[in-house]
Amino acid sequence: MARSVRLKAGRQFGLLTSAALLLVSAAGCGGGFSDNKGAAGGSTGEVRMLVNITPNLTKSYWEGLVKPFEDANPGVDVKIEAPSGSGVKDTLPQLLAAGNAPDVVETLMADKVLAPQMLDLTNEAWTKDTPLVDQAKLDGKVYTVGVGQQAQSLVFYNKDAFAKAGISAPPKDLDELTADMGKLKAAGYLPLQTAGDYVTGLQLLQLADPSIATKYPDWFQQVNSKQVKLGDTLLPLLERYQSWIKSGYIDKNALGLKDVGAQTNFFSGKAGMYIMGSWLVRTADDAKPKFDLGVFAAPVEKGQPSPGPQGVTMAAPYMVLKSTKQRDLAVKLVQFLVTDKTAVQSQLSQDGNFRKGYTEKLSPLGKQVQDILDQAPKGVAQGEGYGANTLPSGFNGEWNKAVQSLYTGKSAKDVATRMDSWLGSKS
């Protein structure tokens, strides 16, 4: 009798659990695994935009940015959404899985994984004149449009320190750079400021862009197709970097610093150089260092034409999600954000980005960066890259850890082998 009651109760529990599980699974998976086609929508309604929130790009900044668009389109409400995770990259999959995807996403660029979720903007005429639109094309299609570009291969330097070290002009090639480091060290400066976190690997990539792009014009394709070994292409620079650590040109304890700490050190005048992207201009303008701050393009290998190609990335990239129910409004909003002069100027100034024809409001340091961009023979993708120039996802993180291992006893050869092995595992 007792057994029968237990069995009955067990069956009821099982049925109830199964029913609840089915119900919840059906609701929970409704968005994530469906292939939502979206809809054109009307001329009024809400457009949701997932954006990156930073100290420069606050939620109220974004709301102010889209206000003129809302005013020009009565009945349209642009809802700015901050990432619920640590950033846009991990928030978007969560929203997609929950069937609650935004209409527009900022920060990410289309790759083979993201593109199937994004609207093809190739036939939108206004995209043609937006920065880096051709470089960001994927299989000939436009998914991502941006406001401006960020120069990557920049070396910010302390002009006073250079003068005290007897260096009359910024170095043009990496041999000169190494020699200048020796002079800076002798003059009592830390030659090159770096940091742990993401900075270590990023700096070396930024420095590598001009020389690698000159030596291997189709580096991404050659590496992906195994025409050249990834490790072999990076080895000369890794060996050079290792020699800098050994010579004390880089602080061996720099990995214990975060990016802000490294910037503070550099702006305090203790270090001679700091490799970073053009977004540092905004920080430098605010920090107002007491020394004369300059910037030069990352040097090339000896014998290569100088200046070399400049690493560039798209600033404030936007994409419209294919699943949007407000396709027309979402596209109109993105068009406004990347073509309206006031909106563009605001975004460029707010985050220290660059675009041809928008030079009036640049600071003296910003003008130097614009000159570097103008003088570069071409702009090239960097690291994981974008568009047709892409390495497998995860390259930047793996590279960063690999470069950091140079500080913890690994050799340049070990690092090159590690990168080859990583790429092999992605095939």
Partner: protein, 289 residues
Amino acid sequence: MRARLTTLSMVGPALVLFVVMLVVPVGLSIYLSLTDWDGYSANPAFIGLKNYVNLTHSAEAIRAGWVTLLIAAVGTVLLSALGLGFALLVNGASRLNAFFRIVLFYPHVLSALVVGFLWSAVLGTSGVVNGWLTSKGSAVLPFLSDPKWALASLIAVLVWAGFGVNVVLYLAGLQTVSKDLLEAARIDGASKRQTFLNVTLPALAPVVTVNLVLSLVTLLKTYDLVVSLTGGGPAGSTQTAAYLILWDSFHNNALGFGSAQSVVLMVITAGLALTVARLRARADQGASA
């Protein structure tokens, strides 16, 4: 029938919550771990146990596993020992003890992210400690820039941030120790050490078990402090299993692989927690026999 409906109406909401909060996420994780889901695609392909096979070949995941186990083992012992030690120190009923209890518990109230950033400002290469050392002409200590030091720093901060909970649990346990037994031990001439070892500690056995299991499970899931204190570095040396799961899932667009790691971590955590609980139960039985 009416009785059944009444039962269902009472059990139903709790059951739905249980299913939504536990069964569905675990079931989905197991399902996703058998796919190549990148976080975006509408139709992830079923790839069987490939993610689990890849996991056994991933040097990074294996290293993160060992780091996690080390943190959990050392951290659990330290949390429990310090928790008990400080609980004994602040056990008496006085205003000073009440103040110290708040001070000891306070770090646990802070967000782990805040704690990490705070300690990175203290232990970083240009942090407070190294700033003071260099001002005295000493060399910088590599708290966060050397792999071994960084791991030790991470464990130390985890213990600092967490042992307040252990103190509170032990304090609660100490209130349950029979005053009669303590009095009897005192009358029999037992020293403080003997009283602690033979009366207090056996009476605290269930609390010790709870402390050990809670600390172990918490430390096996260490994530946010890694993000804010070491960022998994230097050179990935302080990456924990939970950190790597998030990294692989979202930075590397490998949610299927990340899910496989989650399932393995869940099984190991459950296994270790059950083992500790059983060992403690056996020890308790032995002590009471």
